[in-house]
Subunit: 310 residues, 2 copies
């Protein structure tokens, strides 16, 4: 099985690649701007492709003779995309479509696993979110993700690829570096409290968040690579299940598991972050549940998993 | 007012340009692959740009220093797009986005009138069609139109353009030439019966169609250029009102107005055409009605208008 992962140096990408290397015999091609972290890995059938997907040469190297499974995770994140719409078009739309078209052109109908986002459904999200919700993105990141979802549904219909788009909720805990993600606070709560440092929440105590640990996210990505194609809806996209927690629920469990003191916490609500990331409605994911995608189970398991990843 | 019309040699494009020249003092730029029909026109402030919009040079000439209104009608039609998906991406997606981005880059927030299609809502269409329907295109033509709708909604949100997307029903009567349109039969019924020739309907007598005459379509396009921006929904797209007729209703009125005999008519249902063009459900266009878009009024007016255009 020839498998390519783009965005392989990203937070989710690294975790996915490590899982693939540890648990499969797949021939893995990793693609990212900088793959320094992977250069000391010692595996047969591991290929590293450094460069930007806007380059035809990089795309050719990413696909090679053909791929059986293409995990396309590379993207300019939401905050950075909003700052640089032109680059978002290049990376999140044009190069993405070019890469997928190239993989499709080999004629072997590859499985394409595309990481989409709940942002395709809008901000604030409709309530409840279910499989009948319209695509109604409110920012350029979600707009380009939605456009690629539609292109993949069409390529799938025409028999060129076997497409599976999964819409990710907030994944925790991301590294505590500036990542261009507006949702960084969801991860910083883990880092700051684990380090015994003050944490200021930019959303209120009753803000509701959809969260998934990175290890659960990787399990869902691997599942997306092998899920039975015919059981997915014709738009080829599912909103993943996620735990729905209030900011208070999350903080209390992180305090409990880290032993940090509650006086480290303050709240300074930022209206735009509250609107985009703190008003997640009830979530009904029948299509994803039906084919076996899962959330972390409960808040204890989520926090344990997230803390173990940092 | 500097106005550009792409697809200016098309069926709707020619009618729109003639209306603009006859009734406004706008400085008009026409863009199409071949503008022979327009070369004998004698108007001040008329500029002709011949070439493909995939060319940067053509796009620069189309936009010039800036445009106040961009009517973007140019497209590879549905049947041709399905035959040549790569060209559909070039014309209906990439060049379209490049042109709109270029017009937006001039900084004057141009009104962009984009002719979308009811095909963005799927085939068969959901019943009834209303403003809550999801984007669910079933062919590549509708897929690319839906992707551009989403890109325009995002550009509008960011204040780069003032976007108005109108989803057209079947427009009649198109010229009786091979146009790559799968819906050609809707127009051929007018041509064949006006000429006293046999007409074979590829959809059944009870097939339901949404139709609009070309003159009504032009009136709606001109309305889209000047409609008050704030009264449109945030996705900037409206499904236009249309008359909903059965094939029998349409044929009987065409027979009446042309004096043709009913024994010219036979029915040979083609399942794919029946599915895509002969199952149009009840249509509720509140958002479009609210801002003043209109259909032809009744079947007599529609048929009279369509017959007068051929």
């Amino acid at each position: 099985m020839r498998v390519t992962v783009t965005g392989a140096s990203g937070f989710v990408g690294q975790a996915l690649c490590k899982q693939i290397l540890a648990s499969t015999d797949w021939a893995l091609t990793m693609v990212d701007l900088d793959l320094t972290w992977a250069k000391s890995l010692d595996y047969n059938q591991l290929k590293l492709v450094e460069g930007a997907l806007q380059s035809e040469e990089v795309r050719q190297a990413a696909v090679g003779a053909s791929v059986d499974i293409l995990f396309h995770l590379a993207a300019l994140p939401g905050g950075a995309a909003e700052q640089n719409p032109g680059l978002s078009r290049q990376v999140n739309l044009d190069a993405t479509l070019d890469l997928i078209d190239l993989a499709a052109s080999k004629g072997n109908k590859p499985r394409v696993v595309f990481t989409s986002t709940i942002a395709v459904l809008g901000a604030p999200l409709p309530s409840p979110v279910n499989d009948q919700c319209r695509l109604a993105p409110a920012m350029i990141y979600g707009t380009h993700k939605a456009m690629v979802e539609m292109a993949l549904a069409d390529l799938h219909r025409r028999g060129q690829v076997d497409a599976v788009c999964i819409r990710l909720p907030g994944i925790v805990a991301r590294p505590a570096v500036a990542s261009g993600l507006k949702s960084a606070f969801m991860s910083n709560v883990f880092h700051d409290l684990k380090a015994g440092q003050a944490f200021t929440s930019p959303v209120g105590p009753d803000a509701t968040l959809w969260l998934m640990s990175v290890s659960q996210c990787v399990a869902n990505l691997v599942h997306a690579a092998t899920v039975e194609s015919g059981r997915l809806p014709s738009n080829r996209a599912v909103t993943l299940p996620a735990l729905r927690l209030t900011m208070t629920d999350l903080i209390e469990e992180v305090l409990l598991q880290t032993g940090a003191k509650s006086d480290l916490i303050t709240y300074e609500k930022q209206p735009d972050l509250q609107e985009h990331f703190g008003t997640h409605p009830p979530l009904i994911t029948a299509a994803a549940d039906h084919v076996g995608f899962k959330h972390d189970g409960d808040v204890q398991a989520l926090v344990r998993s997230a803390l173990s990843s940092i």
